[in-house]
Symmetry: C2
Subunit: 459 residues, 2 copies
């Protein structure tokens, strides 16, 4: 999404080739603002303006642009400009960009990259999408265990501009094993001649490169970290994930959870709604709409099996929407609450019986409310000619209210248990959507409804 407010001015300055003024004008902006403005220009104009800046500013502004703009610029830029841009980029942003380039563009660029950068890209892109390794940056400040505070601060001064964060520094031994960490706060508070290993914190919270990215973001959140180190199985330090990446993960996972919950399939799109093609939108929705459509047809076939019951007592049809709504709503509610608690690590699969006990009582109360309302509604407001002479209003009202109450209890328990079982068998609990849940509890509800009618009324 480009910002367009000052675009005419920028285009005018470009046309008149007032480059000094342009550099001045954009230098004063935050990199993100600059990126927003530039994104609306053509790739060649963006290149013209980017090349006015020094290497770091250029890379920073570029990194704030949307991925599709970045890809377009790299794919169409001059080799020399592209390499000048890629070298100073944050290692995680650069690796991410390579993941999005056409394979042959990426391969060609890799051969031109300096060997250190090439190795870095190859390493960072080797981790599976969604792992901590795929997200990490290799730009962290590493200190040696024998460094003093004075030499540590000197190191930081020297390398600060190229590093993701200088606020946390990591102390490694000769083999690169992580021994401890020190915050810049602690460093500037300590005496210059002290050794860093004497004041470092050794109880470091880490993630493994193969861990899920969500684990990293949860730890950053729980421990209020600015960055978390990523290590391999030998505790060698590979990189860091910073708090701003954690925020992005939390947002992305949340969008994914919501989409799953609403039966929208596939990976979360990075592009905004209006930029996503109609066919992509369609593809993400049609899968579940059709699958659940078949379930709807199946429920209809169950009703068909009770055709005689239905023809004998047509009034039963009038309460099918209520039954359907009550089951879907209570099931979705319990599923949402349990799902969210699992996502926030407030619940473990082992709590299943405590959850079921709790949900049973809650659903019994809900069933009681709805059951009484329904019983009164049927009993007091049904015209006697609506039901055949062979039935009493009391028995019909009892059947409908009882079926509804059972439906509420079973739907609530079903909604609560499904996410927990999903976690136990290690599938994403959010995969089971609220529409799927509603459709399935509706199917069960129809069976309950007509079975009870058959039993009590003998039809």
């Amino acid at each position: 999404m480009g910002n367009t407010l000052l675009l005419p001015e920028i285009a005018e300055l470009l046309r008149k080739k007032k480059f000094d003024f342009l550099r001045e004008f954009i230098s004063e902006m935050h990199e993100k603002e600059a990126a927003d403005y530039l994104s609306s220009l053509s790739p060649s104009d963006i290149w013209k303006i980017l090349n006015l800046f020094d290497a770091h500013k250029r890379a920073d502004v570029f990194s704030y642009m949307d991925m599709d703009v970045q890809v377009k610029m790299i794919s169409g830029g001059l080799k020399r400009h592209v390499l000048d841009l890629l070298t100073p980029m944050s290692t995680d942003d650069r690796a991410d960009l390579f993941q999005h380039l056409d394979k042959h563009v990426a391969d060609k660029l890799l051969t031109y990259l300096p060997s250190r950068e090439r190795a870095d890209v190859l390493h960072l892109t080797s981790y599976e999408e969604g792992t901590a390794g795929a997200l990490m940056s290799s730009d962290f400040v590493a200190l040696h265990e024998n460094d003093t505070v004075a030499s540590a601060i000197k190191t930081i001064r020297k390398i600060a501009p190229g590093k993701e964060t200088v606020y946390y520094t990591y102390i490694l031994n000769d083999s690169g094993v992580l021994l401890g960490f020190l915050s810049l706060r602690k460093l500037i508070l300590s005496k210059p001649q002290v050794l860093v290993r004497e004041i470092m914190k050794t109880d470091v919270i880490v993630v493994a490169a193969t861990d899920d990215q969500e684990k990293a973001s949860n730890l950053i959140n729980d421990y209020d970290l600015i960055a978390i180190p990523v290590v391999n199985s030998d505790n060698k330090m590979l990189g860091i994930i910073t708090y701003d990446d954690a925020i992005d993960i939390i947002r992305e996972e949340q969008t994914e959870d919501m989409e799953r919950l609403m039966a929208i399939s596939g990976p979360v799109e990075e592009k905004p709604y209006l930029d996503i093609g109609i066919l992509t939108h369609f593809r993400k929705r049609v899968v579940w709409v059709v699958i659940l459509g078949f379930f709807g047809i199946l429920t209809g076939m169950i009703i068909q099996g009770f055709q005689k019951t239905l023809e004998t007592l047509i009034v039963l049809t009038f309460y099918m929407p209520l039954l359907n709504a009550a089951g879907g709503n209570t099931g979705s509610q319990s599923a949402t609450v349990v799902l969210r608690s699992l996502a926030l690590d407030q619940l473990k699969p082992g709590d299943i019986f405590r959850v079921l006990k709790k949900e049973f009582v809650i659903s019994a109360l809900l069933a009681l409310c709805l059951g009484i309302i329904t019983f009164l509604r049927v009993h007091l407001l049904t015209a006697p000619d609506q039901i055949g002479a062979e039935f009493t209003l009391l028995s019909v009202a009892t059947v409908i209210a009882l079926a509804l109450s059972i439906q509420v209890v079973w739907s609530t328990l079903f909604g609560a248990i499904i996410p927990i079982i999903a976690v136990k068998v290690k599938i994403d609990p959010a995969v089971f959507s609220s529409p799927a849940l509603s459709t399935i509890v509706d199917m069960g509800g129809v069976v309950i409804y007509f079975s009870i009618a058959k039993m009590i009324l003998g039809i």
Copy 2:
């Protein structure tokens, strides 16, 4: 949620009064871990252990405890201990705690607090819940415009332990107006004798104290900030909000959005699922279950109005679940996508016609898919004796498939438009839940279904 793994050991150490060993043992833990362990003990045991630590460690561990444990401890602690604990706490955590105390406990404590801390609590608690002001901390590093880099670093060294973050410093003039900011990174890279106002960034991203807290968290996220300054209408600096608070807000707002979306009412509970009372769970769910139950009954009454149609062609009943599922699912999908895009600022209410155009095409494609499947299913798989001699299979299949298609299109458009209208009339778009949507489109669907049957089949 207390951590219980090492609890027997801790209890044993307490019983044997091995306080030195206990202090050693817990000092090595991260404050959050220590808080998790201690939370499972009785308040008096927690007090015994907390009082082993120095003021800052004690306050840090305490701040990581759940709010209900904090409240219990403050309400039951000795006045001397309580005051020793409250004084060094982070100002935002302390203000938050006061918001949760019983009014008379809070008032009594306030009178005992040193005047500086009392004024701070009174100021921070004066902002309305949900605003940036209510969330901010007053612990920030303020520099004067005439300070040099050397004196700035000296200031930071002196006050660092008590400040929320020292990584960003703010430069104020004599009246406390915010002039610019400097990162600690920049400070340690600059020459000692330079004035801070010469190197500070003047293009500071700020929020007003009365702005919504979500605005602050969005800015922190968009600009990758560690902290954002909070100012009043005269641009005087009042406090900061840090990135870890932004993460908490994002999570809380997400839980709220999800609960709204699933028809769970009321404010988000801070306590984990298992700690929330059954009646609270019940209250949060019953409202919508009953309201939507009434809508379900209303839908039944509409069906009742078409009783003759239904009795003439009972096969129509068998496709009601399909109609219901298709409407609810497609409506929920479009609502979710639009809602999420609004929340991420990817859509503005002004885009309403572009959204409708897009959703119309998507829904037409979905309707086509489902319509064809349904037409074939009815036409090919319905036994001729299921329908009266006065109708042809072709006409019945057309009615059902057509009604379904219209239902899909109108549900999708309805789902997309509702969140946008909500934003336009300035109510929370997530207030309109997916179950409410399903129930309402179902009502419309029933009308569409039977009206089309009436028109085409003349019943």
